[in-house]
Subunit: 272 residues, 2 copies
Amino acid sequence: MTTQRAEFDADTTVTPAGAGRYAAQLAPGWKVGGGLNGGYQLAVIGTAISAHLPEKPDPVAISAYFLSAAEAGPATVDVEVKRAGGRMSTVAAEMTQGDATRVSVLATYSDLDRFDGDVRTTAVEPELPPREECVGRADVPSYVLEMAPLMSRFDMLFPREQSGWTVGEHTGEGRFQAWFRLADDREPDPLALLLVLDALPPVTFDLGLVGWAPTLELSAHVRAKPAPGWLKVQHHTRNLAGGMFEEDCEVWDSTGRLVAQSRQLALAPRAS
Amino acid sequence: MTTQRAEFDADTTVTPAGAGRYAAQLAPGWKVGGGLNGGYQLAVIGTAISAHLPEKPDPVAISAYFLSAAEAGPATVDVEVKRAGGRMSTVAAEMTQGDATRVSVLATYSDLDRFDGDVRTTAVEPELPPREECVGRADVPSYVLEMAPLMSRFDMLFPREQSGWTVGEHTGEGRFQAWFRLADDREPDPLALLLVLDALPPVTFDLGLVGWAPTLELSAHVRAKPAPGWLKVQHHTRNLAGGMFEEDCEVWDSTGRLVAQSRQLALAPRAS
C-alpha cells in the first residue's frame, strides 16, 4: 500500500537549488481564467521560505506584490534573510519564471507554537447554514468550472443566498462567506491558510462586477495554527473606488478561532 | 519675508546620495516612548520613493516590515525598481542607519490623478462631535506629552468618551476616532497620509493595555488624493491573540471620502 500525497502538498513542493534558492513546479490545476491563483502562488513562495527557516516554519505576516502573471511550469523562489531574530525572522523573497519576476514578497516567520494562547478577540465567527444546505461545486455550471480549474482543488460551500454569482446574480453587499476544505481531506495548516485567504471568487462578483480582478498587493497575517476540520472563510470589501477595491478576508477554524486575516488591493473588473 | 516650510516637510526631506540612494535626517520630534513613530518613518521612506519615481509620485500600496528601532539622526533610504509599468511601478526600499536595517518596504506607486473618480464604497464616514467639543492636546497630562513628543506635531481631537486613555481609562471596545490636522496647517497629501495611518495611540490603550506596541508589519493603501482641511481617522482591532493584535486604520478627508486604509500587526503590551 502506498500513501498518496495530497494534491496541495504535491503542487507546492519546493526543492533546494542553491544558496537561498528553491525550485518549484507550478501546476495548471490552480488556474483561474488566464492566470494562476494568487493564493496558490503565495503558498508556493511561503513553502520555500518555510524550507529556508526550519526553526521558524510558520508565516506570521507576509506581503506579496504581484508583478506579472505566473504560468504553469517551472519557477524559482529566491529567499534572502533580512533579520534573523530569536523569536521571529524577516525575509525578502521573489518568485521568477525565466527572466520575469512574478511576485515580490516580504515576510516575518516564527514558530506559532511559541505564542501564548491568550485570546481577547472581539471578532465574531460567521454563522453559516449546515453544509448539507449549502451550494457547492455540484451546483456550479460546468462552464464556470472549466474557466476556473482552481475550483476543483477544494470544496467551497456557499449559503444559498450568497451563491447567486454562479448564475450571474449578486446581492450588492460585497460579501462572501463559505465553508472550505482542501481536496483529499488535506487538513489546514499555516501554509495552506495562505491559499485559503485568496481562494474564493472576488467579492466584486457580489457587486455585479464579474471578471478578472488581478491582485496588486496582498498582506496576510496567520494568527494561530488551525485545528483540523472544515474552515469558515469570509471576504468583504468596503471601498470600491478609482478602479480598485480592497478585499478583507478572515479564516476561522473548526474550533471557532480566527486563525488568519488578510487584506488585498485589486483592480476592479469593468462594470458589465 | 521668508516662507517657513511646514515641520512635516522639513522633517521628511530627502536628498539624492547616489544611484537609488537618498539621505534623510530623522527628527527627534517624532519620538514616542523609546523609538521614532513608524508612520513618520514610513513617510520618510515614502518621500524617497516618490523622489525616485517623479512621474508616479503617489503611493498606492506600501508594505513596511519594521526590523529594528530607528533613532533620531542620519538615515539612508535605498530604492530599487522591481517593475516599471505604464500606469504603476513597484519598488523595494530599505531604510538603514549605520549597519542596521530599520525598515524593509515593498511599494506600488502611481499618479493618483490618473485614476477615475467612480466611487461605490459602502464604508460610512465616522460621525464625530464638533471639534470644539473634543479633547485635544491642551487636555492631555504633561507627562504624556513628554513621553510622546510626536503628539505635538499635529492636532488630534478625540470625542470626550474616547479620551479616557489620557487619564488611564478605557472603553474596552478597541476603537479610536479623532479629528486630525498636521502642525503649521500643513494640508494633507498622499505622503502625509502614510504618517496619519500610524499617528494615533495604539488601540490597545482602549483595551486597558497601555504601553509600547511595536509594529511588525504595516500595509497601507492610498485610495485618493485628500482634499484640504481636517481629516477624520478611525482605528480599531478585532483580534488580540497570541500576544499580537491587528490594527485597521481608515482616513477620511474633509469631503467625506475614504482616502486611505491600512492594517498593521503589532505586539500587544503586557496586561498591566
